[in-house]
């Protein structure tokens, strides 16, 4: 696939990196490289602009509360550019804190409401107990293609999707968005938000490839990605899914 390339904008890698977010980036980069697809990684820090048309994929990770608070205002300032990018077909993966911040709002335990970017149709309210554990989802990102996503969640926020909003997947085991609805994550076109880390992509290579495909589609390319030898990845997913089934989603 000579000549193909994706440009990935990585928001606040110095601040939002708590659950090994760089693992997700490494998987995207290697899986592109193994297919001869160029991969340009651009770190976007505080005060640095998001140029919507230039980015094929945007990544936002999770941070500890303090780090997350430090970037929240800056992220809202970038909000219009982020929404413009999403509307223009840029693929997005937002994990944990990034997923919360891209929603409409976050209400802390003190009752204070922090505005979010409003890219995802959801609101998050801090809960008393953290939802921690292995989690397994069933997703159908393409009609008729049901796939499993296995990850780990650790969040106090309860995220409630607007009526009619599309979730990333149905919870097979674990808590998910709020521990009640039976759904996890949110999807708007090529933008996906989720609480699943672990990191998510190494043990769910089909999802990494889906994101790469979306990123290429933003460039107007639809090459069809050649399969890779993912036996190890499949084994890792099996173990992780087994954990979710046997011990996921309990307080």
């Amino acid at each position: 696939m000579k000549g193909l390339k994706v440009v990935v904008g990585h928001l606040y890698p110095d601040y939002l990196n708590i659950y090994a977010d760089r693992g997700n980036i490494a998987v995207l980069e290697r899986r592109a490289a193994w297919r001869g697809i160029g991969f340009e990684h651009r770190a976007i820090g505080l005060g640095e602009p998001v140029v919507p048309g230039e980015l094929d994929l945007l990544y936002v990770g999770g941070g500890q509360d303090r780090e997350q608070a430090l970037v929240a205002v800056d992220l809202v300032e970038k909000g219009e550019a982020l929404k413009e990018a999403a509307a223009g077909g840029t693929a997005i993966l937002a994990v944990c804190g990034g997923y919360q911040l891209l929603g409409r709002s976050y209400r802390g335990r003190d009752g204070e409401v922090l505005p979010g970017v409003g890219l995802f149709p959801h609101e998050t309210v801090a809960g008393e107990r953290r939802m921690i554990g292995d989690v397994l989802l069933e997703c159908e990102l393409e009609p008729g293609e049901r796939r499993l996503l296995a990850g780990f969640e650790n969040h106090a926020g309860r995220t409630v999707l607007d009526p009619g909003a599309e979730a990333l997947g149905r919870v097979v085991a674990g808590f998910g968005n709020d521990g009640e609805s039976g759904f996890e994550g949110c999807r708007v076109g090529r933008a996906v938000g989720t609480y699943l880390h672990g990191p998510l992509l190494p043990r769910n290579p089909w999802f990494a490839d889906w994101l790469l495909t979306q990123a290429l589609a933003h460039r107007g390319e639809a090459p069809g990605l050649e399969p890779l030898g993912d036996e190890l990845e499949a084994e890792a997913q099996k173990v992780s899914a087994g954990r979710a089934r046997s011990r996921g989603g309990r307080y």
Binding site: D14, G23, R66, G133, D134, P199, R243
Partner: protein, 461 residues
């Protein structure tokens, strides 16, 4: 304590001790914490009552990394002069500390390494005369929560300590220094040798932003993780003045190290039979606490010189005509230092890496992606990935750039160990990097083969 309470505690102790002996007799491990567990369950106040009997009081050692090693060094320094109750097997929750007190009824001083999450409760019950706060790194977020949360709990428990209690704090850790800032009786230590600093902060560095104004800290020297000579370029907050420092540090491969220990009582050259800059921190921390507790500089130098590592932290085990080098890895900061120390000694050709996800390891294995394993890849011909999450660890190396053909997944620890030994030439050394429960299991395996003593025997010695 009135007479009735004494009788009650005495009875409870007898029951708990008997249970510990039964556990040992039944071959169910050492029973190192069973008596304490039982006593702590039937009487949560027992820890305070037992600690209250110690004529010289107690000292607590807490940190994300280095607790066992640091407390072990302090024990070596003080142990020849004072009878200690010391949880040297590393059982560092309420039950483990209670057990240590039960095991040493005639102790004069309590010396306890304490889990960072259990620190507030143990400090409240024991009422220590000195606490050592070593460092705070990201570690097992599924179990401990975020760093700021632990820091806040530590802060609160220091406020509840008597004013004359000593707080011995790592000034090189911005978060720990911050916790001790308001303390009058504080004693601070750190490193002062920019020649051995890292070029930049590692990926997993924490506490990078000023606690006052949130600007990124500037580092004149970064030694281990975010530990170093830090300052805030915006508001001027900076590393506090240090009472004890290490200078002229000489790291001698995988074997040993030495440095100048500079203290208010003078300077001594310290020799330590352990490698790695992180062990300089452990030694300086141990020296500082010991000085506060009244040790002389000579006793400090001799004690550290005599110290041998706690099991599994850095342990060479002869296995026929080969050697197994066991290095515990449990979080990004600790693992980074192990990798740095290993590669400085000439990178290994074969590594057995073991990842478990039991509660004591952390159920969330994402931390392995925060470790900078990449320097190990140069010259690594074979990685044997093992443990309950062997595949995950294999993926970490695959996506880190190791040729997939160089990776073997052998989930069972015993088989992986044998495979590693098979790949190691006669006379050679096999590097094994296990997480905590994998380390205990590996040690059990080599103990069954008669290669080492079980750890509880060492602990009781």
């Amino acid at each position: 304590m009135n007479r009735l309470e004494r009788v009650r505690l005495g009875l409870e102790i007898a029951v708990a001790r008997a249970a510990g002996r039964l556990s040992q007799l039944a071959g169910r491990g050492g029973g190192t914490t069973l008596p304490g567990k039982i006593l702590a369950t039937i009487d949560p106040g027992a820890l305070g009552s037992l600690a209250g009997r110690l004529p010289l009081g107690s000292a607590l050692v807490s940190a994300t990394n280095g607790k066992t090693t640091t407390a072990g060094m302090v024990a070596e320094i003080l142990g020849s002069k004072v009878r200690l109750a010391h949880n040297r097997a590393g059982a560092n929750l309420v039950s483990g500390v209670t057990s240590a007190l039960l095991a040493h009824p005639d102790a004069e001083l309590g010396l306890f390494e304490v889990d960072e999450g259990a620190f507030p409760e143990i400090a409240r019950r024991v009422g220590p005369q000195a606490v050592l706060l070593g460092n705070l790194f990201r570690d097992q977020l599924d179990r401990y929560g975020e760093l700021e949360l632990i820091a806040e709990r530590w802060r609160e428990s220091l406020r509840a300590l008597p004013e004359d209690a000593w707080v011995v704090a790592n000034g090189d850790d911005p978060l720990v220094a911050d916790i001790a800032r308001e303390r009058r009786n504080a004693f601070r230590f750190g490193l002062d040798d920019p020649r051995v600093a890292r070029e930049r902060l590692p990926h997993a560095a924490d506490s990078k932003y000023c606690s006052v104004c949130a600007s990124p800290y500037a580092y004149e020297a970064a030694y281990v993780g975010h530990l170093g000579a830090w300052s805030c370029p915006t508001c001027g907050l900076a590393r506090p003045a240090l009472d004890v420092v290490a200078r002229e540090i000489a790291l001698e491969g995988l074997e040993r190290l030495s440095f100048d220990l500079v203290t208010p009582q003078g300077t001594r050259r310290i020799d330590l039979a352990l490698p790695g800059l992180y062990n300089v921190y452990n030694a300086v921390a141990a020296a500082s606490l010991s000085l506060v507790l009244g040790a002389t500089l000579d006793e400090v130098a001799e004690g550290i010189g005599r110290f041998r590592p706690a099991f599994g932290r850095f342990e060479r085990i002869p296995a026929g005509d080969r050697t197994v080098l066991l290095l515990l890895v449990k979080n990004p900061a600790g693992a980074n230092e192990v990798v740095r120390t290993l590669t400085a000694g000439g990178p290994p050709r074969v590594v057995v890496a073991a990842l478990n996800d039991a509660i004591a390891d952390g159920r969330d294995v994402s931390w392995i992606w925060d470790v900078d394993f990449e320097p190990l890849l140069d010259g690594l011909e074979r990685l044997v990935a093992t443990g309950l999450r062997a595949q995950e660890l294999a993926l970490r190396f695959k996506y880190g750039g190791l040729d997939p053909d160089a990776i073997e997944v052998v989930p069972r620890l015993e088989q992986a160990l044998d495979r590693g030994l098979e790949l190691t030439p006669a006379g050679g050394e096999l590097v094994v990097l296990p997480t905590y429960t994998a380390m205990l299991e590996l040690r059990r395996i080599v103990a069954e083969r008669g290669l080492v003593r079980p750890y509880w025997e060492g602990a009781a010695a």
